[in-house]
């Protein structure tokens, strides 16, 4: 299908909305828009970070997911207790592919699930005693842990347990950091508030007004930076880190993929905070800027165009040595990048992509697709805020479709009409689109591949997109709902 005009896109939105009852129609209309480069502020054309409508299928997660799953979970040398019923932690266990180095169960614990496994009696009589006991057990069984975080699930807030008191007491007893996190799932409209709560808990319980970093024997240097908001999915932070190190910087901390508690504690002394996922970690970056005078900048390590831009921007905060370093790195990888583009652009040119992802990818990956000659024709965030959409408007083409907290129904209808060549979204959307015969990549977990960050990541990204898009299997698929009736009865 050719490029859609503004009128066509608007008509499509109208048409899709028609099926809803009037009230729902009005609400959902605010979350869908046609991109317009003239608009400076996204809130004029799109509403975001609002409660999802009851009755529609949303793809969002909960505050606990934002704190335990995203921000705290990847800190590898701490034990993160999913405090409450067993399910929240168990069903999300190890699903995010935050890679790390260490011996699981000895000095690192990321893929393990620790839970207080609430039963009826804990709801009735409170779970504080159980939590205290659990912390003692953890200390006995896993003495090499560096600290503990208590991630509250819904019931904790509902029954009013005092996890702060328990944490304080236990922290004094065992002499380690114990962080209570009030990230009950029902707080906020999506995982986004969980990120915020988790950031605040790092500020209050790890930094402790600057006290937190005392006692670590870390010598600050002039080129110290931290990588913030990179969760090392499939090794993303590693393929980013090597570039920074190659240009002469010293990466002191990784937040939080493959990160440690000591790294968090050292961060208030770095020279610059490099922020990849703005949505989940801008809060702590803002705090460090105000309190410790550390500037922060957003960067983008998807695709050579954006990487080059970002490396130069990062270097501009430092002296000539680093600036030369950045040029050297860009020069070094250029032949490799050119070869990749030469190989894949002819195979992927002009292909159209629809995205629907989380924190930063709906806008950050656009450049990488463009480097492959592809075009992003629709994008949207599960839990973005206005500032995310402000940043997206500039990245997207004019008159393309933007959808916030898209519902299952809308996404399907949009895909049917726009007929993209590729859809990038999450596991919940994967199978429906694959059954429809549309090539699909999971853009949360990189579909068990990755890394996608950095130059090395781009090579894998390009290969994966080609592998998916040009796979001959798609033409062979008949959606189950299009099969003739007899065929299905036969199968019974």
């Amino acid at each position: 299908m050719a490029v859609m005009t503004r009128n066509e896109t608007e008509a499509l939105i109208q048409e899709v909305l028609e099926i809803y009852p009037e009230k729902a129609q009005k609400d959902r209309a605010k979350h869908l828009t046609t991109n317009d480069h003239e608009v400076e502020q996204s809130k004029k054309c799109i509403t975001s970070n609002k409660k999802s409508l009851p009755g529609v299928m949303t793809i969002r997660g909960c505050a606990y997911a934002g704190s335990k799953g995203v921000v705290w979970g990847p800190i590898k040398d701490m034990i993160h207790i999913s405090h409450g019923p067993v399910g929240c932690g168990q069903y999300s266990r190890a699903g995010r592919r935050n890679y790390y180095i260490g011996t699981t169960g000895v000095n690192t614990f990321v893929t393990m699930n620790f839970t207080s496994d609430f039963q009826e009696k804990d709801i009735v009589f409170g779970g504080d005693k159980k939590l205290a006991k659990l912390i003692d057990e953890v200390e006995t069984l896993f003495p090499l842990n560096k600290g503990i975080s208590v991630q509250s699930e819904c019931p904790i807030g509902l029954i009013g347990d005092d996890i702060e008191a328990v944490s304080k007491k236990k922290s004094a007893e065992i002499g380690k950091t114990v962080v209570p996190v009030r990230c009950e799932g029902f707080r906020g409209v999506s995982q986004s508030l969980g990120h915020h709560i988790a950031n605040d808990s790092i500020r209050d319980w790890v930094f402790k007004d600057g006290e937190g970093a005392k006692g670590t024997n870390y010598e600050p240097g002039p080129y110290d930076v931290s990588v913030i908001g990179d969760y090392n999915i499939g090794g993303d932070a590693w393929s980013s880190r090597i570039l920074l190190e190659e240009m002469g910087l010293r990466v002191v901390a990784q937040w939080s993929g493959d990160g440690t508690l000591a790294e968090l504690e050292n961060t208030p002394r770095v020279k610059l905070n490099l922020l990849h996922c703005y949505r989940s970690m801008n809060y702590i970056s803002r705090h460090m800027e105000e309190k410790y005078g550390i500037p922060w900048m957003e960067y983008n390590f998807f695709g050579p165009t954006k990487i080059n831009e970002s490396l130069r921007k990062i270097a501009s905060f430092f002296d000539d040595k680093i600036k030369e370093g950045a040029e050297r790195v860009i020069e070094k990888y250029k032949p490799e990048m050119d070869a990749i583009q030469e190989k894949y652009v002819p195979r992927l040119k002009g292909k159209r992509v629809m995205l629907f992802v989380g924190g930063l990818r709906p806008r950050h990956t656009i450049g990488a697709y463009e480097d492959l000659g592809m075009e992003v024709v629709g994008t949207g965030y599960e839990f973005g805020h206005n500032d995310d959409y402000d940043r997206t408007i500039k990245e997207m083409g004019n008159a393309t479709l933007i959808y916030d907290d898209v519902t299952g129904y809308e996404f399907e209808e949009f895909a049917k009409r726009i007929k993209p060549d590729l859809i990038g979204s999450g596991i919940k959307e994967k199978y429906i689109f694959q059954k429809m015969g549309i090539p699909f990549r999971q853009m949360h977990s990189w579909d068990y591949s990755g890394p996608y960050h950095g130059y090395d990541g781009f090579a894998i990204f390009a290969r994966d997109m080609d592998m998916t898009l040009n796979n001959p299997c798609w033409d062979q698929v008949t959606p189950p709902w299009n099969k003739p009736a007899e065929a299905t009865t036969e199968a019974d």
Partner: protein, 72 residues
């Protein structure tokens, strides 16, 4: 009286950030910017107006201050 954080953006503009609401907006005008007095009425690019107690001089940004909404 929301607590807001004022900071300079990359482009040098003043940004107005309400942590509680996760709202970030650009300041379009600030009443007192000169030496001697800094703060006062603030207008955001979306038209809403706030007031912060004027300080003696431009503070080191970012800074968290209390702002009151000015309702017309």
């Amino acid at each position: 009286m929301p607590k807001v954080m004022l900071r300079r953006t990359e482009k040098g503009a003043l940004s107005f950030y309400v942590a509680k609401k996760d709202l970030e907006a650009e300041v379009s005008s600030l009443e007192f910017e000169g030496p001697g007095k800094w703060g006062g009425a603030i207008e955001l690019t979306d038209g809403s107006r706030f007031f912060v107690e004027p300080l003696d001089e431009e503070p080191k940004l970012p800074i968290t201050v209390r702002a009151t909404r000015i309702d017309e």
